[in-house]
Symmetry: C2
Subunit: 221 residues, 2 copies
């Protein structure tokens, strides 16, 4: 194998192990053994476990950011729901590693890992703005989108901890949560109200937004 | 000064400095100088900056957790709004240190600091459940309360970054966000619907929940 090919293979093996257990618990010996090479050879390619972890996390970050890409066609609610499905696929495929990373901790919290997490959040933020047709977000829209992204993270983390609610329900719930938080924001601000009107005007009668409005209306006294 | 008195004084001085700037930027020399003692004497009480930082964070955590305590009297919306005001008082008083801590980073991410953050989140969680009259939370209620707590954290962090929205509006918005997310959850689950009905039945017509419902109704087509 060439140097780059071997590096890529090691990153893949390491990502698999770091995904399935907390990175703290994964040793270089284990990675070497899973890759079928010696421990010194691992160190030939990566100076230590942290640099291998960071390389694996970089690959995972690119994978996740790629899943946010969605054609700008059709109703917004259905687009967001498809992204949520791919997001939960990712979360399910990397459960223990995702939990350990997002909950923070000495082994996983470096400035590089934090920068990678922020870059994924930024990708999600920019994708959502582009679907909303906004290039420069006013303060309330930035707050809505960024705080909803953190809601999606915490929802995924809570789901991983026991999986007490079916993930398909949470994927849909997060779409509804976005609409509900947008509605609160719209209640404060005419610009946000205009955005919400634009969001819902092309929603089909059987789409997630219309479903939410119907459900909310039925709860009102 | 006695040993414990001196320790408490140092913790107070350090907390003040760690609150006003990112903890990375605060040196032991500065803490010694602000406390009016020598650098070696600081080390006599605390083995290093991390232990002093952790002691300061412990005091801040207890302060914050104490602000969640609210008499179980009167409408729920007004209670939550009072807690949000005290929460933003805390966030405003410890801005740069709060941001640095919650955004993570090498200097502030230790297992002790993470445990302190989790203990504050747990206090908030238990306080909210007790106000809702729930001792054992079903899965959807746990998700609602915990994910709303993370929404309150991210809202405060985004506010600190530029303060583009008046904090009084965000305090009220977070109360509305809670009601809106509860309404989404209620749309999925009869137990949550019963909770929401209990939440709103004692709300006054001029309280935050009623205001939100009115605003949402006016947005509906």
């Amino acid at each position: 194998m060439g140097v780059e090919e071997r590096r890529q293979q090691l990153i893949g093996v390491a990502l698999d192990l770091f995904s399935r257990r907390s990175p703290d618990e994964v040793s270089i010996d284990e990675i070497a053994s899973a890759a079928g090479i010696s421990r010194p050879l691992v160190y030939h390619y990566f100076p230590g476990k942290l640099s291998l972890y960071e390389a694996a996390l970089k690959r995972a970050s690119e994978d996740l950011a790629g899943r946010f890409a969605e054609p700008q066609e059709g109703p917004l609610g259905a687009r967001l729901l498809r992204v949520m499905r791919r997001y939960f696929d990712f979360v399910e495929g990397h459960g223990p590693g995702f939990s350990a990373l997002m909950r923070g901790g000495p082994a996983v919290g470096s400035s590089t890992t934090n920068a990678l997490i922020d870059s994924v959040r930024q990708s999600a933020y920019e994708q959502i703005l582009s679907h909303l047709g906004v290039s420069e977000a006013p303060a309330r829209m930035e707050l809505l989108v960024r705080s909803w992204i953190s809601l999606a993270e915490s929802t995924a983390l809570i789901w991983l901890d026991g999986r007490r609610i079916p993930r398909a329900e949470l994927e849909l719930q997060l779409v509804h949560d976005f609409a509900a938080l947008a509605a609160v924001s719209a209640a404060y601000d005419t610009e946000m109200a205009a955005l919400l009107n634009r969001m819902v005007k092309d929603e089909p009668a059987d789409g997630p937004f219309a479903e939410l409005v119907g459900r909310l209306m039925s709860l009102a006294p």
